[in-house]
């Protein structure tokens, strides 16, 4: 797309969106947000980047093929559930770690890992779909 404004603004905009998506992902446990929303924002960041800068640039920016990201996320989510089996609970029971130096930290848990998995699946799958559709034959 040959819009100068868009091409100038996009790198900054995409970067901000990506950052924001991670923020939304992590705040999701206590305030509105979470893996699904974060993932959608992240996927939009790549979609916009691809529209403005071209598909090749976007593929370089995302480094690995998007569908690989989705697969990794699915694996991560599944593995986060396996952890609880090791502790003797049912599959996917949340496990929490409260380190002595930071007893109030609420991020060291398999639940957050699971949410990260969700995020990666959504980013990967939807960015993958968008890239595939933007590709001209």
């Amino acid at each position: 797309m040959n819009s100068l404004i868009l091409r100038t603004a996009t790198p900054l905009l995409s970067g901000l969106m990506l950052l924001f998506s991670i923020y939304v992902l992590l705040r999701g446990h206590n305030e509105p947000g979470g893996g699904f929303i974060g993932g959608l924002i992240g996927a939009s960041a790549f979609a916009i980047y691809a529209i403005a800068e071209g598909l090749a640039a976007a593929r370089r920016a995302i480094v690995v093929p998007p569908i690989t990201i989705a697969g990794t996320g699915l694996l991560l989510a599944a593995l986060s559930g396996v952890a609880s089996i090791l502790f003797g609970d049912a599959f996917l029971t949340g496990q929490w770690w409260f380190p002595s130096f930071a007893p109030d930290m609420k991020y060291a848990s398999t639940v957050v890992l699971f949410d990260v998995g969700v995020y990666l699946v959504v980013v990967g799958a939807i960015a993958g779909i968008a890239f595939a559709l933007e590709e001209r034959e």
């Binding site: 446990h29 893996g35 929303i37 529209i51 949410d115 959504v122 779909i129």
Partner: protein
């Protein structure tokens, strides 16, 4: 007992292997099992004769009250012994009869499995187990009748037997379950112990008709008698076993078994006597009409089964004794005669009555077996068949029963008398006839069984005390459900039954003398008539026509037609339950809330625009507007997570839709004519109204917030999260979410796959094939050669 029932199945599976190891002597090896079973069952003779009953039970599906329960009384023991004893000789006979046949092992496998099913059927004490074994006999019988599966007639006969008996089996299942429901037990002996509960139950008639449907189809009663003669396509060992002594008697067994529970009522008596009597006469007449030995025997089997049903219908103690005595006698002489017919076929190459005569010299043992069995069948003293026939007349003459019953019995017996002599004597006496092969006696296995069974007919006639105390007596008591005095004897003085016997013999001799003339005359008359066998074909054609009609109506190949039907069913499914629930919906005037009204109108406006607009881009924008409206609804009513997600999804949807739709042709105007607009509009409005009504009903009913409250209480205390929605997603219901992200991943992979397919291999022939319009063409167009030519054509023209 469980092991005894399952052993034939286990050995059956091994039969082909045994055949490979032992070759043609496989029959002798496998016959050891039924012989052993005979001895096993024989040990119960003493206790049962003394009036005991035995039960064996193994849990199967305890939750549903289904147990592998077995029950041994006089009736089941007599059947079990007949099955295993005759089965021993049948296995021997089959080994000799099919010597050298490539599939002998498979045949014996089916035969042994049938034996196990039949044993399970007669010994079952649980209604579900009974049904399972009942169906297993139908299935194994299907396999056996269709053994010569390269012959179209065999296939038709096998399928016909399966359709008729299997259909009856379904009715039986319903009847048995009704009985179990009404009587409060799955246990047959419990149900039958208190028959008045069943007889006085409002469902009695339904149970009775359903059980009778099962019994009548299995035991080939008019009008279901046609499958049995057709089943003669099976190799003779099958006819001798299944179609004389065992499977076809399963229906009789069922009626006898049910007699204490369902029997004794007027409707029971009338139905059994009418159908049994009709079957007796029809079978006997059709037997004289035929000239093929096996077919004649099959038709007399139909007649005999009719007689048994008829006697059970009369239901007096003497009639029940007669039924059991006749059943016992019939199993022996009919099994023997079938084996004789098979041996004659084997030794001469034909079963055609008029070509067979004077075989006695060449086939002495077979001739002896045939003659002895025929004498028993014709009911002449001192054979057991005579006693059975005497008791039949005692049964019909006793009490104040109408004379017509005796007349029916005499006519049927006289016809069978004639057939007995035609089958058992005529082929062996007189001048040697003209047969395809030079007659020769078969090996020991081919005549040993027939001769043994025939001699037993004489033995039990002379020493009727054994039959009375060990078999007929206990069985009759079991059928009646009450103790009775059983006293079988050969000669009881010159009384009415003897007179009836003399009339029978005189009439029978007349029929025998005029056999050929009667047969020819019957052939002219009967063959011209419409019969249920033709009816079966018409019925099957009807079923196929119906299936085609329904398929044509529903499977039109038009996507929108499928959706139309789906939506109509959906609307009905949503609306109908609402009509029957008691939730009253009161429509209150909605409050004047400017925000909600405007958001609702925005959403609706977007939706309507999507429907009306002809420009693709404006349609997509309207879609976005509608999605925005939905996001506002979420935002207003306390769902920020949903609102954000909806916004993101809307944006992305609009983007990808714009990307794809640009490559599709222009939208254009709706092509539907006024009629379709009206019809689709009505369907659409119905669905909409149904959904709105559903939602109003739901919101008018009280809401169970138990689960939501549970999440609210534990979200922070147990899962350390303040955003309850997210905690539900990633913790409480994480397994759901895992499944859902798997779906998202798969959708992504599928999209990539769909798009990559084209790019990597644009000229793949499969692609080209999809590109062609193959609709309306002959399936031959799919032939690879034709297809390749079509592709070449396309390439040259493009």
């Amino acid at each position: 007992m469980l092991a005894a029932t399952l052993a034939p199945f286990v050995l059956g599976v091994c039969a082909p292997l045994v055949r490979r190891l032992l070759g043609d002597s496989v029959g002798w090896a496998l016959a050891v099992l039924p012989a052993g079973l005979t001895i096993y069952f024989a040990q119960f003779l003493g206790p049962i004769a003394a009036g005991e009953t035995l039960t064996f039970s193994t849990e199967w599906v305890p939750a549903a009250g289904i147990a592998l329960a077995f029950y041994v009384d006089g009736l089941s023991l007599m059947f079990a012994l007949l099955i295993s004893f005759i089965g021993t000789f049948i296995v021997l006979y089959a080994g000799a009869y099919l010597k050298g046949h490539a599939d002998l092992g498979r045949f014996l496998m089916f035969l042994l499995m049938f034996m196990g099913s039949m044993l399970g059927l007669v010994l079952s004490d649980n209604v579900v187990t009974l049904f399972v074994f009942w169906e297993l006999t139908s299935i194994t019988s299907f396999l056996l009748i269709g053994f010569n599966h390269d012959k179209a007639r065999s296939r038709r006969a096998a399928l016909q037997a399966l359709v008729v008996t299997g259909g009856g089996g379904l009715a039986l299942l319903a009847g048995l379950l009704l009985m179990a429901q009404a009587g409060g037990s799955m246990n047959l002996s419990t149900l039958l112990a208190d028959g008045d509960v069943l007889r006085e139950h409002p469902w009695y008639l339904a149970m009775l008709l359903l059980v009778l449907a099962g019994a009548f189809t299995k035991s080939a009663q008019v009008p279901f008698h046609f499958w049995l003669p057709n089943a003669m396509e099976a190799p003779t060992p099958v006819s001798a076993y299944l179609h004389s002594a065992t499977m076809v008697k399963a229906g009789v067994y069922l009626l006898a078994r049910m007699n204490p529970g369902l029997g004794g009522t007027e409707i029971w008596q009338v139905l059994l006597m009418v159908f049994g009597g009709a079957t007796l006469i029809a079978g006997a007449i059709l037997a004289l009409r035929n000239t093929d030995l096996k077919l004649m025997l099959a038709q007399t089997t139909v007649a005999s089964l009719g007689l048994l049903v008829f006697l059970i219908g009369i239901g007096t103690p003497l009639a029940l004794q007669a039924a059991m005595a006749y059943l016992f006698a019939h199993s022996m002489f009919k099994g023997a005669l079938f084996m004789v017919a098979g041996s004659v076929d084997h030794g001469t190459g034909t079963r055609e009555l008029h070509r067979l005569s004077g075989l006695g010299r060449a086939m002495p043992f077979t001739a002896a077996a045939g003659a002895l069995a025929a004498l028993s069948m014709s009911g002449l003293p001192p054979f057991f068949g005579f006693i059975a026939k005497e008791w039949v007349y005692k049964g019909t003459l006793g009490g104040e029963l109408p004379m017509i019953l005796t007349a029916v019995a005499i006519l049927g017996n006289a016809l069978m008398f004639a057939v007995a002599f035609l089958v058992g004597f005529k082929p062996f006496f007189g001048k040697p006839g003209d047969t395809p092969h030079t007659p020769h006696e078969g090996t020991l296995g081919l005549w040993a069984g027939a001769l043994t069974l025939a001699v037993l007919g004489l033995f039990f006639g002379l020493f009727s005390g054994f039959a009375e105390s060990l078999f007929v007596g206990p069985a009759a008591i079991a059928v009646a459900g009450t103790p009775m005095l059983v006293d079988l004897y050969l000669w009881g003085g010159f009384k009415a039954p003897v007179v009836a016997s003399i009339i029978t013999v005189a009439l029978g001799a007349l029929f025998f003398w005029q056999g050929r003339r009667i047969s020819d005359w019957l052939a002219r008359v009967v063959d011209a008539l419409w019969g249920p066998d033709k009816g079966y074909d018409q019925f099957m054609d009807g079923v196929v026509a119906l299936a085609r009609g329904v398929t044509g109506l529903l499977q039109t190949g038009l996507l929108r037609r499928y959706m139309l039907i789906t939506f109509l069913v959906l609307a009905a499914a949503v609306v109908l339950p609402q009509l029957f629930d008691s939730i009253g919906v009161t429509l209150q005037a909605p409050p004047v809330d400017l925000l909600v009204w405007s958001v609702a109108l925005l959403t609706l406006g977007g939706g309507l625009a999507v429907m009306i607009i002809r420009s693709r881009l404006i349609a997509i924008m309207s879609m976005g507007v509608m999605g925005l409206g939905v996001a506002f609804v979420f935002l207003i009513f306390g769902a920020p997570d949903l609102a954000f997600t909806q916004l993101m999804v809307e944006t992305l949807s609009v983007v990808i839709l714009a990307l794809v739709i640009a490559r599709l042709p222009v939208l254009g105007r709706d092509q539907r004519g006024p009629a379709r607009v009206l019809r689709d509009g009505i369907v659409a409005v119905s669905i909409g109204a149904a959904m709105a009504a559903l939602l109003l009903t739901i919101t008018a009913a009280p809401l169970d917030i138990g689960l939501s409250a549970y999440f609210g209480e534990r979200s922070y205390t147990e899962a350390f999260g303040r955003n309850i929605v997210n905690v539900i997603l990633v913790d409480f219901r994480a397994l759901d979410t895992l499944g859902e992200i798997a779906v998202v991943t798969i959708a992504g992979v599928a999209v990539l796959g769909l798009l990559a397919f084209r790019r990597s291999d644009p000229d793949a022939s499969g692609q080209e094939l999809i590109g062609q319009d193959i609709s309306g063409r002959d399936p031959a167009a799919l032939d690879p050669a034709v297809r390749d030519e079509a592709i070449r054509d396309r390439e040259t023209t493009s």
